[in-house]
Amino acid sequence: MSGPASAQGPSTLDVRPPVVVKHVDAVYPPSALAERKDADVVLVVTVDADGHVSKVDVAESGAADLDEAAIVAARQWIFRPATREGKPVASRIRVSFHFAPPAPPPELVSPPVPAEPEVPMKTAVPQQTAPPPEDAAAHARREEPGVVNVYGRSVPPTPGNSAFNLRVGALANVPRQNATELLKLAPGILLTNEGGEGHAEQVFLRGFDAREGQDIEFTVGGVPINESGNLHGNGYADTHFIIPEVVESLRVVEGPFDPRQGNYAVAGSANYELGLEKRGLTAKYTTGSFGTQRALVLWGPREESVHTFGAAEAYKTDGFGQNRDAQRGTAIAQYEGQAGTGSYRLTGQVYATNFHTAGVIREDDYVHGRIGFYDTYDSSQGGDSLRASIAADIETKTGDTTLAQQVFLIKRTMRLREDFTGYLLDVQTPLQLPHEQRGDLIDLSVDELTVGGRGWARLAGKALGQTQQLELGYFARYDQALGEQQRLFPDSFVPYHIDTNLQSNLVDVGLYGSADVRPTRWITLDGGLRADVFSFDVNNLCAQQSIEKPLTTMPPGDESCLTQWQRGSHREANQRADTVSAAVLPKGSLLLGPFAHLTFSASYGKGVRSIDPNYITQDVKTPFASIEAYEGGAGYAGAVGGVDLVARSVFFQTHVDQDYIFNQTVGRNVIGVGTTRNGWVGAVRATGSWFDESANVTLVKSSYDDTHLLVPYIPDVVVRSDTAVWADSPWKVSGEPLRGALAAGVTYVGRRALPYSARSNTIFTIDANATLAWTHYEIGLVVTNLLDTKYRLTEFNYVANFTRSTEGAVPPTLVPARLFTAGAPRGIYGTFTINFGGA
């Protein structure tokens, strides 16, 4: 985790070239002796952010064999990597090798004279080190290193103490089921999932129930993940298509303080950057509890950057308990190439999954032994999901101006079958033929196409003796979304009612200007203005669902989408609504760094979240929720006793004028009243030569503005610790050391407020991983829920009746009761990994 923004931080023009730590001389190839080649070979060497040579190109050839000899030597060099703004970045340098043949043996003349001692073969000496000794047979040509081109993507300024640039590093060893769990490296994140392995995680952050991502702006390499127009929840974000092993870093900005943050950045934003540090071909197999098997192949060509890779995964599990099986296949590939002084990337991914889910069970049914803790009422629940995307982006730097442009195309489909209430909602209406309760199994499907792009230009310059930055940027996306929700007979999956059927065309265009101004060395003002324009065009294909006075000669019966208006007049079943509106969002931070390593910050920001197309009416003025947030805090970044230490403490307040509240009767979020959150976050990360520890605590109180009652389901207290230690063992096999590593993740969640003044149970889990590595091989043992705690992952208080009336020996239950979804019991998995052709 990088430290908080420092007002004393280096200027953006602070670029340092790589420095050789270990060099290897080239050997004059025997094949060149016959011709006694004397030549220079100039190489362009790409040095990665970890200091290893990832690519070597011949800029000027001396001859094929000389080129090869130079390449072989250069590949073994190790550098201290180049840095930009203090952060390691990839770079390219020119290295010249001069090859001179050894002096020829003297001719034999009479009288014979003793042979002169053989002159040792000259080795070509790279010009990057100290100049070679003079060689009378060679014309040495010294060349100063050429222009150092430092690559690596530009990192935007940090808005305050709640921005976390998280390098996963050794903490990748902490067991994580998916890429979403990497969010736990940022403070205050709680993840739950009542919908199964193919269902997006429910994310809690800073007192927000961000549901399946609707209050967090998720991106991967800048490509949006939030789905506009998803009927389950506008902004639904399923990150299961991201293979966790190719996540290089994660940038989490908590709060809406960055002008670059757009729609859905209510609680904050999270951007995954992909990369594969371990080069070569890696194959990993995992097997263990619940019939789980996972095969993973990773490919990182040695001569390419860490951002060039391919990855493919196949996964299946029977799941714990009842009805939790899942299968998925994922493939993702990215290529990074050089574009002048910058780089470009092409990224593609495909993901598909099919899964079942157990859903909720009633606490009283479990207590009285009517159902098991890990059982299910309705085995029909589950779904499938597909995502495919391509993206291209380019970033170049010309003088003091950095330019970036990205385009993306995403295709996404999803189907969810969930049953939150059992046999409750299908009441007899006068219009319908007499029927019994047909069940509340919801079948929701979405089909979405997204196309868009973003770009920015950042200008840096000197003023007042400090580096100042100005950035202008834009974001644009178009979404075409089809969403339908039906109710199914539980045994046959035959739909008997349509709840919703929408066709939506949605556009979001954002423009922003941001400045990073430093009046003095220790004061930074960072912020700007953003404007987002939202356009909705929604065709409700099932707009008319009830009639007060139907025609007796034309009774609508059980039709869901009616073509009859009041008193029998005809209408079409659909109704269209469109609206356009704009939101202006100021955001800014003040950072003060009068003391070394210490930064104080205060931030203010307005955010926005577009509303569900279901709520769009003709010309509605504000088709979005408005967010206003404040925070203040302090951060420390420095080294203490050889340990890199980053710590921060932040107080915050966030207000939303139209919050989303989960409604179990419709199976998705519905708009509620305004809410306010007040809280505190504390985080620390300590990284040493043999350990890495990240720990954080979040305390928050979320309440409704009108009643000041607590918002239910929000955890008041979240504590998280991620720990990794590693060491080489004293034993060696075939001269190579054995390296062991241990990692553990600990989560504590306090008793969450539930409706009706109840409190949930606490959650306390430990996940651990132990690995042993030797050369190209690694074996591991992963244990999730180490203590085998029987815990309730989510808890609710609402009305649900899972007893079918035809089965019933009791009348239905119509009052709220406790329900929960079970957390997974202890799981034990073995992993075996082999790497070919890595550095």
Partner: protein, 267 residues
């Protein structure tokens, strides 16, 4: 000290303070006959000029529900589900001796919340309120009606099922008279806020079953000693039978009372 002070200042911000409002409760549920009745003794009262003496009046209640919202008059026909939020339920059936003033406990505890209740429901049904056939007798009565020295005996067993449930009045509204609507007595107006450990009392008044009854028609047929109430609901051929069915389904015989935990039974 300063960092510690900041942390201490933060603690009151969160951690288990505050409430989401209201609370879930469980409570006892009992039914009682008229306070002036004597258990095991006939219950005598005046109705329509007749002295009515009931020797047996058993009513079966399948369930009790309380809701927070009054139904709107002229609202959608025959919805068995009340608008608003259900705030109390007792989901166990009980055969209630309407002639016994003593508390007769429902077989299960009630559950609900502290949201104030505005209306109650009494379900005159077996376990399945939607079953087409009757699962149990709802009312079983025996007694006499005396006027001017002439006494007529009567008896009857009333059920509620599809056979005595009227058909929908409009072909455009085929679901407008579901069987559940015929079994649910509502609205019974209440002003109750439930609390943990209290007692919900359902008072049943047998005299109300005979409001507006024409006792002059209660005459034993030629081949019988007693008049039998016809179990055909509102299609019954005689006024007393139709009236009995109608009064059974009115809120007249039913009244709810709340007794907080520890309160003595009212007499």
């Amino acid at each position: 000290m300063r960092p510690v002070g900041l942390l201490l200042a933060a603690l009151p911000v969160a951690s288990c303070t505050g409430t989401t409002g209201y609370s879930l409760v469980s409570f006892y549920a009992v039914a009682e006959g008229p306070p002036d009745a004597q258990a095991g003794q006939p219950y005598t009262f005046m109705s329509g000029g007749y002295q009515v003496s009931l020797t047996k009046a058993i009513i079966h209640i399948g369930a009790i529900y309380l809701d927070d919202t009054l139904p709107t008059s002229g609202g959608a026909e025959a919805s068995c589900t009340l608008p608003g939020t259900y705030v109390g339920e007792v989901r166990g059936g009980l055969d209630i001796d309407m002639l016994d003033p003593r508390p007769q406990a429902f077989p299960v505890a009630g559950n609900g919340s502290t949201i104030p209740a505005a209306v109650g429901q009494v379900w005159l049904s077996g376990p399945d309120v939607n079953a087409m056939a009757a699962q149990t007798d709802i009312l079983d009565i025996e007694g006499t009606a005396t006027k001017d020295g002439t006494t007529a005996s009567f008896f009857g067993a009333i059920t509620v099922d599809q056979s005595n449930n009227p058909m929908p009045t409009s072909t455009a509204l085929p679901g407008s008279n579901p069987i559940c609507a015929a079994r649910i007595v509502t609205p019974i107006f209440v002003d109750i806020t439930l609390a943990q450990g209290g007692t919900l009392v359902l008072h049943v008044d047998p005299t109300s079953l005979f409001n507006n009854a024409d006792f002059s028609q209660i005459k034993a047929p030629r081949n019988s000693d007693a008049f039998e109430f016809t179990n055909r609901g509102m299609s019954s051929p005689d006024q007393p039978s139709r009236n009995l069915y109608d009064q059974l389904h009115s809120n007249g015989p039913y009244r709810f009372e709340w007794r907080p935990a520890g309160a003595a039974a009212a007499r």
